[in-house]
Point group: C2
Chain length 172, copies 2
């Protein structure tokens, strides 16, 4: 029996992390994870095409049921935000074209869900992601970030289900 698959994406114009997890018998397992790397010296549109096509292929191969993406807030560095937005845009497009729902999660919320602390370091997040999924070796930091978003989404879905189950048990 195939479980519920979630694709997590950590978009970036040079490195985009992705991670697919699956829930089987209440346990989260790793399906696939990696980093889409592009050359910063290549034209932005060529890099976007690689990100988009890789994510489209990944969605086709791994068939996730839903997608979770990091929400990005940046108070400074508008130009960095702009470039990041380009990558996030084609990631959202790849999901929307496949008819998948996309749920954004703020970085602080992801850290809170994984480590229990909104200000946790990336390395802490990576280590706990590895523990949750029972990984012997950790993929790159972009991939563990993407997996962290996917796990957060899995926890949110579980909580919603619990709320729905509890609601269903209410006395009439």
């Amino acid at each position: 029996m195939s479980g519920r698959r979630i694709l997590g994406i950590d978009p970036g114009s040079v490195k985009t992390g992705y991670g697919v997890i699956e829930e089987r018998g209440g346990k989260l397992t790793l399906v696939d994870a990696g980093t889409i790397s592009t050359k910063a010296s290549d034209p932005l549109e060529a890099r976007l095409l690689i990100i988009y096509q890789t994510l489209r292929g990944l969605i086709e191969d791994r068939r996730p049921a839903s997608v979770a993406v990091e929400e990005i807030f940046m108070a400074k560095h508008a130009n960095a935000a702009l470039k990041l937005g380009h990558a996030r845009g084609v990631a959202l497009l790849a999901a929307a074209e496949a008819g998948l729902s996309v749920t954004p999660y703020a970085p602080r919320l992801v850290k809170q869900a994984i480590v229990g602390k909104g200000s946790a370091e990336k390395e802490q997040v990576a280590r706990i992601v590895g523990l949750i999924l029972g990984l012997k070796t950790l993929p790159g930091v972009d991939a563990t970030d993407a997996l962290a978003v996917a796990i957060t989404h899995a926890q949110a879905l579980r909580m919603n289900q619990r709320v729905l189950l509890t609601a269903g048990k209410k006395p009439r």
Copy 2:
């Protein structure tokens, strides 16, 4: 004989302007122009899908030889830049998928090329775009902005050609 067609794009997450122009006998004429409007209340990924699919259809129908897009610089408002980046990302993707080269033009350069003044108002730009293309009625401001970028690109191509022709005439 079909002339050289240029697609200009002024991307935005709510309104994306587009304009296709053609050069025939040294004169620029309008082929198509308009605005892709999306609902700000709709999920961002649904809006990006509309922008992307409309631009893909436009490229298929109008078959431009190249694409010109506004380059966006914003010192403030990182979140606005981020959203704008999403829309610009799927616009660049639509061009890259069709194998078209994309040339970015800074807004100041476009205003300089059209009005002769980098600080020109949008209305001035629109009026002169109308004069250059011999339009009786002006399309919306997003469309005239997109046409302005396309005209700037046409001028740049013409200048490059002149430089190349002059170079060719150099005494050996």
